[in-house]
């Protein structure tokens, strides 16, 4: 059987469309990615996602695991759905710590020997020439060997990956290093992926951001993400607010966006809120629509906390409501990213966008998306524009 020709694009996709788009298809090959955090996070999930995303796309990956035996890792990987398992090769640095024999082709027998660690990983990279390399994790080395030796090893791993044309991801939580050492590590990287996990209301909230070290490179805002079985890591906005004056079409916007939508209404007018769960282009969002009438303003106070962004719906035929729209925006907080949906643009008398911007006194560059919510026109586009603003890739 002839070897299958696998086309390797020169970019390593993350499988997160909004990020890949910004990265012009993915991370360049070769490149060095530092997965960094100061506190415990779920960055390993993202690393696993990145490895498996490669495998799903026909690439090969080398996973160096200091914390987990490969058989356990393989079992945990099944959460991501099916993928060709043989595309991921392990460097087993765990079995020897558990004093059990390794059944992997590449294994480190003495984790107290930095030179052996490096030699085994280098050999694996040289022989397999993987498209992606994950080192999980560098703090294992940082906690055991002298800084100079660790930095030298760090450099050797990056060089090996570069020779093989791989994207190398070095996971690192900083337990012991000071700023100077961190700067050394940063300077060896092409991209830094910073991670944060916090707990709010008993729920773990994960965020990450990507910065390219090259001058003028990419720098995103904090991107909220979550993990979904079989799908892997997805961008996740826990709270998008849809607001606007009475009868502008907010509920219709929520319903059009959502796979499932719930409205608490009375004779067609929302009296509590609309809620919908949205999945568009690898982005998941919980969308909350507020009532438009003034007597329900107290609801804003409940929802205005921890809002990721706002879709401000206005009726393009009713300039007399624009003042009210501005007021509602002010209620949720002026600093939030927002997009104006000029709705009902199919009706006679709908104002052009420039006119709406002028009459509303919108800041220069505020996006206005023309929509016909009843037909679903423009609504998803508006959400995507908002998503790009929130994560800072627009």
């Amino acid at each position: 059987m002839s070897a299958q020709a696998v086309h390797l694009p020169d970019r390593a996709r993350t499988g997160i469309p909004i990020l890949d788009e910004r990265l012009q298809g993915g991370f360049p090959r070769p490149s060095t990615l530092l997965f960094f955090s100061e506190k415990p996070t779920e960055k390993r999930l993202f690393a696993e996602h990145f490895a498996i995303e490669g495998a799903k796309g026909g690439e090969t990956c080398l996973y160096v695991d200091f914390y987990r035996a490969p058989q356990l890792a393989r079992r945990e990987f099944t959460r991501f759905g099916s993928f060709p398992q043989d595309r991921i090769t392990f460097v087993d640095a765990t079995s020897s710590q558990l004093l059990v024999p390794s059944s992997e082709a590449y294994h480190i027998d003495d984790v107290s020997d930095l030179l052996e660690i490096l030699a085994v990983i280098e050999r694996a990279i040289d022989e397999r020439r993987p498209s992606r390399v994950i080192i999980d994790s560098m703090e294992f080395l940082a906690d055991r060997f002298s800084k100079d030796d660790v930095f030298q090893g760090w450099r050797r791993l990056i060089d090996a990956a570069r020779r093989a044309g791989s994207v190398i991801c070095l996971l690192f939580i900083n337990w012991t290093y000071r700023d100077r050492e961190l700067n050394t590590i940063r300077a060896m990287s092409d991209f830094i992926l910073e991670f944060q996990s916090s707990m709010r209301g008993g729920i773990i909230r994960n965020t990450m951001r990507v910065s390219q070290l090259e001058a003028g490179g990419i720098k995103t805002n904090w991107i909220p993400y979550t993990f979904r079985d079989f799908a892997g890591v997805t961008v996740y906005f826990p709270r998008i607010l849809v607001t606007g004056p009475f009868n502008a079409g907010k509920s219709t916007v929520v319903q059009t966006l959502s796979e499932k939508a719930v409205s608490i209404d009375r004779m067609g007018t929302t009296v509590a809120f609309d809620y919908g769960n949205v999945n568009v282009m690898g982005i998941e969002a919980e969308v909350f629509g507020t009532p438009g009438q003034e007597r329900f303003e107290f609801i804003f106070k409940i929802f205005a906390r921890e809002v990721n962004g706002v879709l401000l719906v206005v009726d393009a035929t009713r300039p007399q409501d624009f003042e009210r729209a501005r007021h509602m925006l002010a209620l949720v907080g002026p600093k939030l990213p927002y997009v104006v949906l000029a709705n009902k643009t199919d009706l006679p008398g709908a104002l052009p966008s420039e006119e709406i911007a002028r009459q509303m006194g919108l800041a220069e560059g505020t996006p206005i998306v023309r929509t016909v919510a009843t037909r679903g026109e423009g609504v998803r586009e508006a959400l995507l524009v908002l998503a790009e603003m929130i994560i800072g890739v627009r």
């Binding site: 955090s37 506190k39 415990p40 996070t41 779920e42 390993r44 200091f66 914390y67 987990r68 035996a69 356990l72 079992r75 765990t94 710590q97 558990l98 004093l99 059990v100 994790s137 703090e139 294992f140 906690d143 055991r144 939580i173 337990w175 012991t176 996990s197 916090s198 707990m199 709010r200 209301g201 008993g202 729920i203 773990i204």
Partner: protein
């Protein structure tokens, strides 16, 4: 001495091996569960199954609570190269290695999320971490986890072996918590316990004999 446990609070329980720290921890857990609170047990030294058996002897039947208001964070089994098949109805959160401090920290958050906050977390024992990680790394881990547990999860108690760590290390751990409970053997090998201090509370720091809680059996 078993009063209502404080919320948003961290405690260090120190004592030499064999003095009864496990029994003390289980007594607190039992009381919390009985009052309808939720409990996370982080085990580094014992298999969950062994804990289930031993707690039964201490009149705490975990099967009544597991999966509902009690969950294990199991840092032991993977490290002992045990079989890791999940047991139906007994959800445990697995950490693959003692060295993976980040994994332990997130597993605790996961467990709290699973049960719903607030929770009471029992960490048995912090001493084991020192076999696998540098003191510096553990200190930062300890400080972060304690503050996370206090602010977002509720209450955390760490058990630590006395007499196996350097004085500096013990002092560091003691300085990072709100309260310290000490246990010791007397010359006659009687067991004693005292509350050394509890921030914000008036406590009597005198030693008193450590007996099993009322109605307790199965201890020799």
């Amino acid at each position: 001495m078993q009063e209502k446990l404080p919320q948003n609070y961290s405690v260090l329980l120190t004592g030499p091996p064999g003095v009864g720290k496990f029994e003390y921890v289980i007594a607190q857990a039992r009381e919390a569960l009985r009052q309808g609170e939720r409990v996370v047990f982080v085990t580094l030294d014992l298999r969950p199954d062994e804990i289930r058996t031993r707690t039964k002897a201490l009149r705490l039947d975990l099967s009544a609570y597991e999966g509902k208001s009690f969950v294990f964070v199991d840092c032991y089994s993977a490290t002992a190269a045990e079989r890791l098949e999940p047991i139906p109805g007994k959800k445990t959160i697995l950490v693959s290695s003692f060295s993976n401090l980040e994994g332990i920290g997130m597993a605790m958050s996961k467990a709290a999320q699973e049960l719903g906050t607030p929770v009471r977390i029992f960490f048995y024992t912090i001493s084991t971490l020192f076999l696998h990680n540098s003191t510096q790394a553990i200190a930062k881990f300890f400080q972060i986890v304690t503050s996370r547990a206090k602010t977002n999860m509720g209450y955390i108690l760490y058990a630590v072996q006395d007499g196996v760590h350097e004085g500096m290390t013990m002092n560091l751990l003691r300085s990072l918590v709100d309260g310290v409970i000490e246990m010791r053997f007397t010359d006659a090998m009687e067991r004693e316990v005292r509350i050394h201090h509890m921030r914000g509370m008036h406590v009597d720091p005198s030693w008193s004999p450590f007996r099993q809680m009322p109605g307790e059996g199965g201890l020799e």
